[in-house]
Each structure stands twice: as C-alpha cells, then as structure tokens.
Symmetry: C2
Subunit: 506 residues, 2 copies
C-alpha cells in the first residue's frame, strides 16, 4: 500500500466533509425555510458516504498496510516526522470512527436530531420534564460510547478526548479548581468593593447597517482575507471552512445591543484567521486540521477579549467608532467606553457572560457533565443541582428552566465533553499571549497603531500553520516552556479588572 493511496482516501473524505459544510452554511444563512427536509437528506447522504468510505474494508486494508494497528506506529521505521504524524492521526481517527457500530451511530443521530427539536420546544415552554427522558437516553448512549472508546479512569474522559485530545477529567479538575477559586474571589471583590460602571449607553440605538460595516472594517484590519472569506447573517454566529481559501463567518445584529455584533464578529474572525492560516497543501490531510476545540477557542478569545476588549485596541478604533455612531456615543470618552465593554456582572446566560464570569459558567457545566456521565447525578435531580451550582459559582439563581438548565443546545446534541474546551481556550490564550509579548515587545504599540496583521502573523507562524503536527500540550510547552496552567489567565484578569474596577492589586 502506498502512502499516496491513503492520502487520496483521506482527501476524498475531507472533500465530502467540506461539501457538507457548504450545505450547512447555506442552511444557516440563505436556505428557504421549506427546504429543510431535502437539505437534511442531502447532508445525511454526504455524512453516510464519508462514514462508509472511512470505515470500509478498502480503507482499513490501506491503513493496515502502513500502520501498526495496535500502536499507530508506521510499519516503515525510517518514515519522516510529518508522515509519521499523519499516519498516527489517520490511525487515531480511524479508531474513533470505526469503533462505534454503524447501528449505534445511526440510532444516536436519530435520537439527537429528535432531542434537539424536543429541547427547542421545551426551552420555549420552560418545560424541563419534556426534555428529561431524552436527556436520560442521550446520557445512556454517551456512556455506551465511552465504553466503546475505552478509558482508564472515568467514562467522561473518553468523551473529553474527542474535543480535547490528551485532556481528561483529572487534569481539568485541577486547572478548574484553581480557576474557580480565583474567579469567585475576583467577582466577589468587584461586586463588593469595585467602583460601579454604568453601561446603559450600550443599549442605546446603534444603526445595524453601520454596525455591520464597522464589523467588516475591524475584521479586515485584523487581517481576515476577504478574497478567501465573507461575513453573512445567521441566528447564531459561527465560523465554517470549506478550504483554507474559503473560510466564512456569520454574525447577528441587534440595534440596542452594540456589543453583540462587534464582539461576535471579532470572535468569529479569530476562528477564521486560524482556518485561513492552515496550510493549503495540508488540506485533505489530518496534518491540516486544527489541533483541538480548545486551541480553536483560544484563537477566538485572544482576539475577542485579550485584544478586542483592550484599551489599546480601542485607542485605534474608537475615533472611527465615534465617527460612525456620534449620537449613541455622544460624550462618552475612550476610558468610559473601555469600561463599558468590560463590565463584570454575574448573569444567568452563558453566551452573554462577560470575560470574567464566562469560565464560571463553563466550570459549572463541566462538574455537572462529569456527575451525569459517571452516574453520580440523575437527570431528575439535574435542575436542583444546576441552581445550587449557579449559587455557588455566580451567586445567583435562575427563576426558570429556560434561563437555567435548558439554555444550551449542547446536551440535546449529545455533545458531552465539549464545554471544557471553552474555558481551556481562555487558559491556552493567556499563555500564548504571554509568549507573544516576548516576541513582540512593542505589542501594546502594535495594537494601538492598528498593525494587527503583525499579531495575525505571529499566530499564523506559531499556531495556525502548524496544523495538527502537535497536540495542545506540546504546543503550549513549545511556546512557553511550561505545561498548561490557569495562572497566566488569572493573572491577566486580575491585572485588567482590578484596574477597571479600581480595586487594590493583590
């Protein structure tokens, strides 16, 4: 068997996935509503086709001829590093895809398709009991899935590994416990001792067309290549990739919520720069994939928060912003604006949370997922557990299910193990920026002068173009000499928010 044959087979599967992504993008942006069933059928055809090719005997024979199927090591000992890595990733993907019986995959797909509909209705109707039996079934399936994959310590580990290869419950627990302790204290200090910020002007009327225009301008200055990308509108912002030369983002616009559109555009542009920065000649190879969900999230969060909510960033953009929105921003200087986009306030909804409280929302979900999957929490007791943890983490309690335990789509999709990546992205991001500051000593000036492509280039060279040649742990160690830690992120937040809220430094 030749390496080329394996590459061709992998590239074919990748092409099918990319084509499916086009259909999905269209579904979320322009597809007429009546076309839903036909589109589902077309998308399902493509995923079945990809799955069939990936799990078929021909693929297996090809892989077997190249790789030790027990270890993922190449059969040819003198294989170069890239090929060795490619073979390992192909072997690992194959194990993941082929481990689950086809019937199991099909039943789970049917269940989650149905569950998402049930969840959507249940959320609107604030009816946890309608969703509960579906959630129970999904958890059963995910436990079975974990058994199929195998694990050493706890079944939840097997699920986490699919989003964050190399991570597990124990490692995350250590990171999150430290993070929780620091954030709960910081939020408490802000609430009790911080100088309050009045951010009501953010709810003034901001023309949506101008918001759109401004977002595009910011994305362009960040270095998003619009000859290989575009922005459209969708109900929920997302980034999607058909090829490194075709990476698209979406946003949503609200007249009376200026922050939503601009920070979601910056966030998605962060994701998009990652995808645009993958090497074109890696397309179709596992080497050309992003490292993990957490590393992807680090890219969006570096841009959205560390850079996009910095004083330096708005030093550059605020004059343009006030030029476009002279009315709603009248008499609001840069300092006031900077504080308004950085208010910290415990709130019920994860996707609307600020930079400080966001990770608390995640950690709460992580703890609950671990309990559910490991059988230590029953679905019937979930709402009470949710409310109790909201109290513990954020000091507030939801008044209903829809702003509480029913708010996220993830569980109805069966995406257990996904949430931790969001918070890990914050930790990865802070560590990367520490290193970036060493490599770009005048980083603050760079941002102030709007030379953002310098940052994009740093990320491209140090993260994006690597593709999946290393895992997250190795990347972080390579960049910082250390293993993943919550300290840099905590340090960053302490420094920024003690300043904003006029708190004494710790």
């Amino acid at each position: 068997m030749s390496i080329q044959e394996l590459k061709d087979r992998l590239a074919e599967i990748k092409k099918i996935d990319s084509i499916g992504a086009v259909l999905h993008w269209d579904q979320e942006t322009y597809m007429p509503e009546g076309a839903g069933d036909a589109r589902a059928e077309h998308i399902s055809y493509l995923s079945t086709l990809a799955h069939r090719l990936h799990t078929g005997q021909e693929f297996l024979n090809c892989l077997k001829g190249l790789v030790n199927m027990e270890t993922g090591e190449p059969l040819q000992p003198q294989t170069d590093a890239d090929t060795r890595r490619m073979l390992y990733l192909a072997w690992k993907d194959y194990r993941d895809v082929s481990t689950l019986p086809a019937d199991f995959v099909k039943e789970l797909a049917l269940l989650t398709a149905k569950s998402q509909q049930v969840w959507q209705k249940a959320r609107v109707e604030n009816d946890f009991n309608a969703f509960a039996p579906y959630l129970e079934k999904i958890i059963d399936f995910k436990r079975k899935e974990a058994e199929y994959y195998g694990y050493t310590t706890t079944p939840y580990d097997a699920l986490i590994d699919k989003f964050e290869p190399g991570m597990n419950t124990e490692k995350i627990t250590i990171l999150f416990n430290r993070l929780k302790e620091a954030l709960v204290q910081l939020v408490k200090d802000i609430r009790e001792k911080g100088t309050p910020i009045d951010d009501k002007p953010m709810q003034r009327s901001f023309d949506v067309d101008k918001q759109w225009e401004f977002g595009l301008k910011v994305a362009e200055v960040m270095g998003y290549d619009f000859t290989c990308g575009r922005q459209d509108k969708s109900a929920h912002p997302f980034t999607t990739t058909f090829h490194p030369t075709d990476v698209r983002i979406t946003t949503r616009l609200h007249k009376n919520n200026f922050k939503t559109a601009i920070f979601s555009t910056i966030h998605e542009t962060g994701h998009a720069l990652y995808e645009q920065g993958l090497r074109i000649d890696d397309y179709g190879s596992p080497l050309g994939e992003p490292i993990s969900f957490g590393i992807h999230e680090s890219q969006s969060r570096i841009w959205e928060n560390i850079i996009g909510r910095s004083r330096d960033f708005w030093y550059h953009f605020y004059p343009q912003l006030t030029g476009m929105f002279s009315r709603p921003l009248v008499n609001i200087n840069l300092d006031r604006f900077y504080k308004m986009i950085n208010t910290v306030k415990p709130s019920l909804i994860r996707v609307e949370a600020d930079e400080v409280t966001y990770s608390l929302h995640i950690m709460l979900r992580f703890e609950i997922e671990a309990l559910l999957i490991d059988g230590k929490l029953e679905v019937k007791d979930l709402p009470a557990a949710w409310d109790q943890k909201m109290e513990e983490f954020l000091g507030i309690r939801p008044e209903d299910y829809k702003d509480g335990v029913l708010q996220d789509v993830h569980w109805s999709m069966g995406a257990f193990g996904y949430f931790p990546s969001y918070a890990l992205g914050n930790l990865y991001g802070a560590m990367m920026v520490n290193r970036m500051q060493k490599d770009i000593p005048d980083l603050s000036e760079t941002i102030k002068s709007g030379k953002l492509p310098i940052i994009r280039e740093w990320l491209r060279n140090n993260v994006h173009s690597i593709g999946h040649r290393m895992d997250a742990e190795e990347l972080i160690r390579k960049l910082t000499g250390e293993s993943l830690s919550a300290e840099p992120f905590i340090h960053y937040l302490e420094k920024k928010y003690r300043d904003i809220y006029a708190l004494p430094n710790k």
Copy 2:
C-alpha cells in the same frame, strides 16, 4: 433485481447532482473569489462520483435485471405505465452516459474548461483567431460524440437529441424556415411601415434597490413560493434547483436599463415555477425531470413575453410601478409604457434581442451549427458566414467579432445543439397559451386582476406536474391535438406587433 434498488441508485445520483448545484449556485452568488480552485475541485469530485456510480457495473447489473438493454422495454411485461416510463428513461439516460468512453468525457471536459477561458479573453480582445483552434477541436469532439451516440440522418441530430429529445435537424428546419419567412417579413414591415416608438425613457435612472423590490413583488404575485425559493444577484441570471422545495433564481440590476432586471426576474421565475411544480415524490426519479430544454424555455418565455409583456399584465402592475418610480416614469401612461417594453429593433446581441427578432438570432445559429457539425462550413470561414447570415436574417452586420460570432458562451462549452431549444420554447409556449385560453376563457381579465396563480395552476396541472412522463411532442399533441407548428407563435406575434406598430392586419 428490484425496481426499488434501481430507484435508490437513481436517487443517489440525483442527490449528488443536487448537491453539486448548491456548490454551483454559491459559486455564482456568494463565493469569495479566492476559492475558485477549491470549488472546482469539489464540483469535479461530485460529478466524477455521480458518473462512476452511473456507469459502474453494479448500476448496469441492476438495470439489466429490469430492462431489455436493446429496446428499453421492461422485462416484466405487466409493468404499470409510470414504471415502464421510468425504466425507459433510466435506460436512455444510461445509454447516453455510458456510451461515451470515460477518457473521451475527461478530455472534452478539460478542453471546454480551457476553451471557455480562451473564449472569454478572445471576446474581450476581439480576437477570433485566438479562439478558432479551440473551436475546431471542440467541433471534432462533438462529431466524435455524435458518432458514439449514433444517428440516422446527420451527426447534428445526435447532439440536438440531448437537449430536445425526439427533435432533429429536418423537423427543426421545416419549423424554422416557416418562422424565418414570417419574422423577416414582420421585422421589415415594422421597420418600413410601422409607427416608430421612442423608448429612450427606459434608459432613465431607476433606483436599483427599488427594481429589486419590484421584481420580488412581481415574482410573488406570479406564484413563486418564496418559502421554497429565493432571489440573489449574479453576473448572468439563472435558475437552479436543489429539490422542488428549493428552487432559486438570480438577476442582475442596471440603473439605466430598467427592462433587464424585471424581465429577467419574470423569465427566471417562469423557469422556477416549472421546477417548483415538479412533484416532490418524483424527486430522484427520471419521471421528476423536466421534459426538455425547449419545454423549460417555453415556461420562461410564456411568463416573460406572452404574459409579462402584455398590456393586461401591466394594467395590473403599472400603477404600482409608477408609484415606485414616479420620477423616471413621469408623464408616461400605460399605453406608452407597453409600447416601450415591446419595441422591435434588429440588434447584434442575442440576449438583448426583443421578442420578435430573438428567434432570428437563434435560427442563424442553428443553421451555422448544422453546417459546422456536418462539415459543410470550416471554422476559418465562420466569421464571414456569421456576418452574411446576420445580414440575411436581421439586415445588419456586426462591426467586430465580440458583438458577432464571439458573443455566446455556448460553443466554447461544447453545447452544440442547445440553441434551437430557445426558439422551440417560443413555439411550444404559443401553443400552450392557445390551449390555456380555451381552459381559462377570461384569461385577459385574470391577468388584469393580477390573479396570476390561476395561470401557474394551469401550467402546473398541464405541464409541470407531468414531469418527464411524456416527451415534448406528446405533450403538445395532448394539449392542442396538433403537432408542433410555428403558426400559433407567428399568429401571436403578428397580432400583437401589428397593433403596437399600427400596421394593417395581414
């Protein structure tokens, strides 16, 4: 072999085609320019996949088990009519697809891809000689293709049959000779004896956003279902179908050319109504395909011309139009407007031609194609032949190649045999409307009152929902009791334009 297995295989091929259509639609509407190569690769993957499935041994075995491969008759004599027809069409498609050797298809695809680029440049640079060697090669290929398909009288027949099943050079020549005679005379009468129409106001400034809005409104009144369709912008207007529940049109807008956008929207909506009117449960079966290019064109031309350029139509819409465009249409009454959208003037460019001269452009191309394919005209003599025929048909001569022989994309694509369908569409359309007038006696009132869905329903019942259960000839005979003739179209034009140009009736 079961019928169901064949249906499943055909449905799979159709799904792949539909998915390819989404990629193509995106390419023409929203795709960022840098994504062209990747998109070409994805589209090519899908068409290769569909071709492989269609020509593979498994498909053949399945078909062989159901159909006499010599005749297309079912092996099971007691097969019902729909299944019999489905099997026949599947057999005919299979012959077409499998007759051409894979290498031949591939080489031709490469040649035409290259030729289109060469043609595009040659047209801009007005350089026929740059395109000529490619055209020669394409003609060689098309002759070979005709040999592969087989024919009784002339190779051109084999090519025509792919666009207009059942048609051939001889039948078309008879129809076109009669049409040519009548149209040349009518154009001559209009030029020499008609009361001239000043249509300069059509070049006034019409706000493009309002044009867009007005076009959408007209399409909606026509009965285009926007829950299963949408309009977007593209360089060249087109209609595309992913499923009967997802049929999309495009248009282009010019500030100083009001007619372009609105009549292209009406034209494409005519095509779209056909596709939306195909039966959903026929999707994936050859029974669910449109009858032919000519029948498709009849639907767009009935709407664009017979209805859309009628006095009755504008009796309904003109008040709304003047409401939106009070400035450019100031002091222009309905009668004047009606005449302005129906001016007849021989011109060089087919796609800008009026309703009367349009078919002359087509007939000229038909005669030339027949000569080229049958080896009676050499490419080096083509420009002279073109100019001479323009003189003969339209009484004018192009001053350069780009407005003459180089104006159409079709030959560079290898689409020989396509042009006749455009004019046949006019003939089919006029015959259908004759019958429609019998079934809807108050047709004029129906249009005047904007009850256009009544017309859509007639077309849906009598044409669209039939799918490909009959060929064009059978459909026309069923509707009119006659075989295809140029007389109804000639009669329609004579009546309409002798009135508009105040010519005595013949």
